[in-house]
């Protein structure tokens, strides 16, 4: 088992190392083959591991200690691989999506000059993510956390010659720093309280500390709440929750496979994963859970509204991701961690599918991302159209509640909404339930809007000469275009190497919910999780959720139906209406279109403020005071003194003799003065 897990986790690192360090030497194709090969190996091993954990002999928790990391006094940290149901699920999600994205990138990045670098980054990301999900203590969790952050930064800025990509990568990194600050403080708090950062040692200790109070910023805090909230701030940054969400839409500057892998399926879900992993902590931190619920629900609503008005195909999906992450968080917040994990699992498939499908569209449209310039693509890109439709049905969660039969999103999202209903005894729970249902409608609206604007209606691309002229030049430069057709300006279907991952993912999008809901959230959940997720003694949310009456179960479906019909009305039947709404605007449209003015607000406050402070310290503090007195000042004084000292060296013997006598007199005086004291 050890060897298998080590290969599973470190295979991608090996691939990344080879492709990253020797990519130029060994060439593009070997780099791609090596990285993709290792990923598929990992993927295969992950599924094997998952099956062994779920049905086989590897149930329960296993911790494989690889190497000691830090041993200082009673602070111990190891490099290890933790295997339980939770990490097994994550292994499957991460390696499956990653492997398919690797494969997909063969086609998508076919024209890119630095393929080895891209594949090395992808594999590096995968390794970091695997370290994160298999962490057995906070140190390694943090290592993985930062590792994926680094890979994300590198990949968002992969096209570093684009200023917007650079800005976006920096933004992602900086916003994540804010979250990581909270995360680090949370880890320190945990260590301060429990003197251990190992999960296995930590979790049994938590119950005893419930109710302990701490003074922090001269306020009394429940100690566990404080720790949980600080950790959750880290999760907010990584998972782009309300207030710290601004980086995610901008991160779409990266190549689309990156968006699919990192900013939809895996990295952004790390926050959710962490909250679920720390369920023993959050179970005893009611205030923190309330915060999680409120933030999650707010994000779900906020992102869904913003998604309504965006025109960039990737940004729509990005806000959709944001919104779905909100669902996961409020599920965890009300105590249905299983539901959160389940939604994470299904979401990975259909969201990766949507992103890769969008990538296929972008590829076919010659790197055009504006949906207003698309339309009527369904004939030209039938397979992409089919898989996008599947993905949309999956995310909107269409299914038949009575029969428990539907697409992936149906199972997971409805479970979450039912769980929120079950928790609606508390205000936060009630808020979450209302938002969940309402956002389901919005989700349906913007998802269908995307499909209709892209694939239906009239093809706006036919009139746009400028874009494909430029693109034709581009093709001439490289001597080969997309595919083998003669007319580069006509949108075309993507090559098979891109379509195969799409088809595989659509199987997941259709069947993942049906196949696994019994295990994740159904009757078999206790047996499935085997204690990897902890529910407090009074937490029977999941049980209550199943007992929800039919009208509650129908509520999200109704909302979805309304949203769908609205989308059909606006985008399919009255095609001109969209433009009219956009033109007439009105405050609500403006507000939504501008993403609630978050970027402007942050710019005005944090960015400007920080810039002002930075300028103050840089120009005033560093240049004038520190450099002036420090390096430059010392250098100037040194040069001046050197000049003065040099002048004494006149060459006259009597001057020298005089200096010597001065020295004698000076030393004598000093000696007498010193001794007299």
């Amino acid at each position: 088992m050890t060897a298998l897990l080590v290969i599973l986790v470190f295979g991608p690192l090996l691939g990344a190392t080879v492709a990253g360090l020797f990519g130029r030497r060994i060439g593009d194709t070997p780099s791609r083959v090596i990285t993709t090969g290792f990923l598929f190996l990992s993927c295969f091993l992950s599924w094997y591991t998952f099956s062994q954990v779920t049905w086989g002999e590897w149930g329960g928790q296993h911790i494989v200690r690889l190497l000691p990391f830090i041993n200082v006094a009673d602070f111990h940290s190891d490099w290890s691989i933790r295997l339980d149901a939770l990490s097994a699920v994550m292994l499957v999600v991460v390696t499956s999506v990653s492997a398919l994205v690797h494969l997909y990138s063969w086609g998508y990045m076919a024209d890119d000059p630095s393929k080895p670098r891209f594949f090395a980054y992808l594999s590096l990301f995968t390794f970091a993510m695997l370290m994160l999900v298999t962490a057995a203590d906070f140190m390694q969790l943090f290592f993985g956390w930062e590792g994926v952050g680094l890979a994300s930064y590198l990949l968002i800025g992969f096209w570093f010659h684009k200023p917007t990509a650079n800005a976006a990568s920096i933004k992602a990194f900086v916003v994540n720093r804010v979250g990581d600050f909270g995360f680090a403080l949370g880890i320190m708090t945990i260590y301060w309280m429990f003197h251990t950062i190992r999960f296995a040692e930590l979790f049994p200790l938590i119950a005893a500390k419930a109710g302990t109070n701490w003074t922090f910023i001269s306020q009394e805090w429940s100690a566990l709440d404080l720790a949980a909230i600080l950790l959750f701030i880290g999760a907010m940054g990584k998972s782009a929750q309300f207030f710290l969400h601004t980086w995610l839409p901008d991160a779409m500057e990266g190549p689309t496979p990156v968006s699919a892998l990192i900013h939809a399926a895996t990295m952004v879900t790390a926050g959710v994963y962490m909250v679920c992993l720390l369920s023993p902590l959050f179970e005893y931190a009611p205030a923190a859970r309330t915060l999680v619920t409120v933030i999650g629900a707010t994000t779900a609503l906020f992102a869904a509204t913003v998604g309504l008005a965006q025109n960039d195909i990737k940004r729509v999906i990005a806000y959709s991701t944001c919104s779905q992450l909100g669902y996961m968080f409020f599920a965890a917040g009300v105590g249905a961690y299983q539901a959160a994990m389940f939604h994470l699992f299904t979401h990975a498939f259909f969201k990766a599918l949507l992103f890769l499908g969008a990538g296929s569209v972008i590829n076919g449209m010659h790197h055009e991302q504006d949906m207003r310039k698309m339309g009527a693509l369904w004939k030209l890109m039938p397979i992409t159209y089919a898989v996008m439709t599947i993905g949309t049905i999956a995310i909107t969660g269409i299914g038949i509640p009575g029969l428990d039969l539907g697409f992936a999103g149906f199972y997971s999202k409805d479970t979450i909404i039912e769980a929120a209903w079950a928790a609606s005894g508390s205000p936060a729970g009630a808020f979450a339930f209302v938002v969940g249902v309402f956002a389901a409608g919005l989700t349906a609206f913007y998802s269908w809007r995307l499909v209709f604007m892209t694939f239906h209606g009239t093809g706006k691309w036919k009139h746009d000469d400028h874009a494909h002229d430029a693109h034709a030049d581009h093709d001439d430069d490289h001597g080969h275009g997309h595919g083998d057709h003669g007319h580069a300006h006509v949108p075309h279907e993507s090559p098979w190497v891109m379509l195969v991952p799409l088809l595989l993912l659509s199987i997941g999008a259709i069947g993942a919910g049906f196949a696994f809901h019994e295990y994740f959230v159904g009757e078999g959940q206790v047996e499935f999780w085997k204690g990897a997720i902890f529910n407090g003694p009074h937490n029977e949310i999941l049980h209550h959720a199943h007992l929800a009456p039919l009208d509650i179960k129908l509520a999200p479906l109704v909302a979805t139906a309304i949203g769908t019909i609205g989308a059909i009305w606006v985008y399919l039947l009255n095609e001109g209406m969209r433009a009219r709404i956009a033109a007439n605007g009105g405050p609500i449209h403006t507000f939504i279109y501008n993403k609630w003015f978050f970027d402007e607000l942050y710019n005005a406050t944090f960015v400007r403020g920080a810039k002002f402070l930075g300028d103050l310290f840089w120009k005033g503090g560093d240049q004038k005071i520190i450099d002036g007195l420090g390096p430059n000042g010392v250098a100037a004084v040194t040069a001046f003194a050197g000049k003065g000292v040099g002048k004494i060296q006149t060459g006259y013997v009597y001057h020298y003799a005089f200096v010597m006598l001065l020295g004698v007199a000076g030393l004598l005086s000093y000696a007498l003065w010193a001794w007299a004291r």
Binding site: F658, L662, V664, A665, L668, L672
Partner: protein, 204 residues
């Protein structure tokens, strides 16, 4: 106050004053003469201490040889001492301050030590009166101090080598008298008989 004390104060005052004269006299010849005077009085102080041999050495070596050599050098070398002394007034104030500081400090220490009587019990070794001064020096010079004596010899050797290295020149083409050559000279070596033909002369 006995005669010895009077002699001591007279001699020491003259020593100090003449030492001042050495450095302050305008005429270098006068400086050397002051130096000789100060040697003389210092020799007198040695006599007062009962070190007649040292006193004689001082006069014979320092006055008789060293100082007179100085005098010759000063008189023979045509050095413009006026120009050398140009900076004297300019440096006098600061030089004076340094000197004054040194003097004050020495006086301070001397009085402090005098009050505490620090040197008690470890004065100079007693002079044995069983032998004359010269013999006593001779006794330790070749026994206890043989090392220093020999080492001092090496110092003198170096001085000699140095003087030779720095001044001895073997100039080519300098005509020197060689007695050996002169004595060994024979008619055969010294003469050549040449038959001179008429009207041709000798051309060599």
């Amino acid at each position: 106050m006995n005669l010895q004390a009077i002699a001591f104060y007279v001699l020491s005052v003259i020593t100090v004053v003449s030492a001042l004269g050495v450095v302050s006299a305008r005429n270098p010849v006068h400086s050397v003469l002051y130096l000789i005077l100060s040697f003389f009085t210092a020799a007198g102080l040695f006599v007062l201490l009962g070190a007649e041999f040292l006193a004689m050495l001082l006069i014979v070596v320092y006055v008789g040889a060293v100082a007179v050599l100085f005098l010759f050098v000063v008189m023979m070398l045509d050095v413009d001492f006026g120009s050398l002394r140009e900076g004297f007034v300019r440096y006098l104030p600061i030089g004076g301050v340094v000197a004054a500081v040194l003097v004050v400090e020495m006086v301070l220490v001397a009085t402090a030590v005098g009050e505490q009587g620090a040197a008690k019990g470890s004065g100079a070794p007693d002079i044995l009166l069983d032998a004359p001064n010269t013999e006593q020096i001779g006794r330790v010079l070749y026994t206890d101090y043989i090392y220093f004596f020999q080492a001092a010899g090496m110092v003198l050797l170096v001085a000699m080598i140095g003087a030779i290295v720095l001044t001895l020149r073997h100039r080519p083409g300098v005509k020197r008298q060689s007695v050996m050559d002169q004595v060994a000279r024979t008619p055969a070596k010294g003469m050549r008989i040449v038959q001179v033909k008429t009207g041709e002369g000798i051309s060599e």
